[in-house]
Symmetry: C2
Subunit: 202 residues, 2 copies
DNA sequence: ATATAGTATATCGTATACGATTTTTAAAAT
DNA sequence: ATTTTAAAAATCGTATACGATATACTATAT
């Protein structure tokens, strides 16, 4: 089944990719004219894509001033981390972890440990979490988590170097899941996400 | 501080209102030309508003076929109810219930009990839940809940008449909150949302 | 009577135009 | 030299135009 993919969708995905590669950073304005030149499309699908990302709160707009990626903000960080912790816990509680998933998690954790720059490490960490929650068959939850993680990505770039217990916790989660100890895994997962809140000062 | 409100935002809110009043129903197509005539604006801000609602998954689009409110679907219902139960529980656990909030809840419960048509009752029920979670200061969570409840509204129109224990459960929640028994309140709240899943057959 | 093909109409997604607003730059006033 | 004002340039949000696609209708073949 071949379906046409609208420019709007393509633009939205391209912009999300630029965030993940660090090409677009927190606090940056998004220039319609500039994006239109880069992508060689009119501003119409770009506006549609950006208004979608606004709805996800990944970006902000103000009338007559255009679109911007929000600056980092500790209050919002707390909100985001708390939500992700809660929704991932829900996902884990509603998942079954087969040997192949456990294997994928272990492999992914190795990628995290061998990544040698901040952007790669954050992206690999997010992929680890995506694998962890991938067995939860709730499309709405998955979309919400995706959006939240896009927003959290910018914070992780700031905070992740502050946290030395990440690898140990991931391995602990994997062990618990391997042994069917879901509740213990959930407890460490929440710790994994929420302990960063201890670093929020400002 | 006066700020301009874009047509896009106005159109989006008007469409959401039409859903809440039952003027727009599950399964209905949204005609750009028709909305443009009604609201006396061009299709541009309408498309921007609709693509935003698509991002919230409140509506769906398919290339070259326009926008539509999704039909009711039991798998999606399960997803939505599970998410709302979880996020409202999180909200309650992170809230403090003053006397004035308890008073508002009681007053709202009276409105539910005296409402005399399905749409009013569902809307008043959703307002009850909004009050219940209003003390949770997490804007992202509130926006997510808002979107989820817009989608659940269509299901509640179908399911709510099947459920006779609603009022009793609300009063129980209020009592528990009044006595500071948060865990008990959360348990009844989850029951309140998740018991409808027993009626899902199809 | 039904299925297929062709035509007309309606609608969608994108491009372009344009008035309104914001930002930047230059000139005038202090 | 600094501040204020005015003008120019850039950008935004919306309206309109238009080619592409889908839908509805009609004619033809089986």
């Amino acid at each position: 089944m071949i379906t046409k993919i609208t420019y709007r969708n393509q633009v939205r995905e391209l912009i999300l990719d630029k965030m993940k590669t660090g090409e677009l950073k927190a606090g940056e304005s998004l220039s319609l004219a500039s994006i239109a030149r880069d992508l060689e499309v009119s501003v119409t699908p770009i506006r549609e894509a950006l208004t979608q990302l606004e709805q996800s709160r990944i970006i902000k707009s103000a009338p007559n001033r255009g679109f911007i990626i929000p600056e980092l903000n500790n209050v919002i960080a707390k909100d985001l981390y708390q939500l992700v912790a809660t929704l991932e816990s829900l996902a884990i509680e509603n998942s079954v972890y087969s040997k192949s998933i456990i294997k994928k998690l272990k492999k992914q954790q190795e990628k995290i440990e061998t990544s040698n720059n901040a952007i790669d490490r954050v992206n690999e960490d997010i992929i680890f979490h995506n694998i962890l929650t991938s067995q939860y068959k709730n499309e709405t939850a998955q979309q919400i988590l995706l959006d939240l993680k896009t927003r959290i990505f910018f914070y992780e770039l700031e905070f992740m170097s502050l946290d030395n217990s990440l690898n140990q916790q991931h391995n602990q989660i994997i062990n618990y899941l391997e042994n069917g100890q879901i509740k213990d895994a959930v407890k460490i997962l929440k710790l994994n996400w929420l302990q960063v809140l201890d670093f929020l000062k400002l």
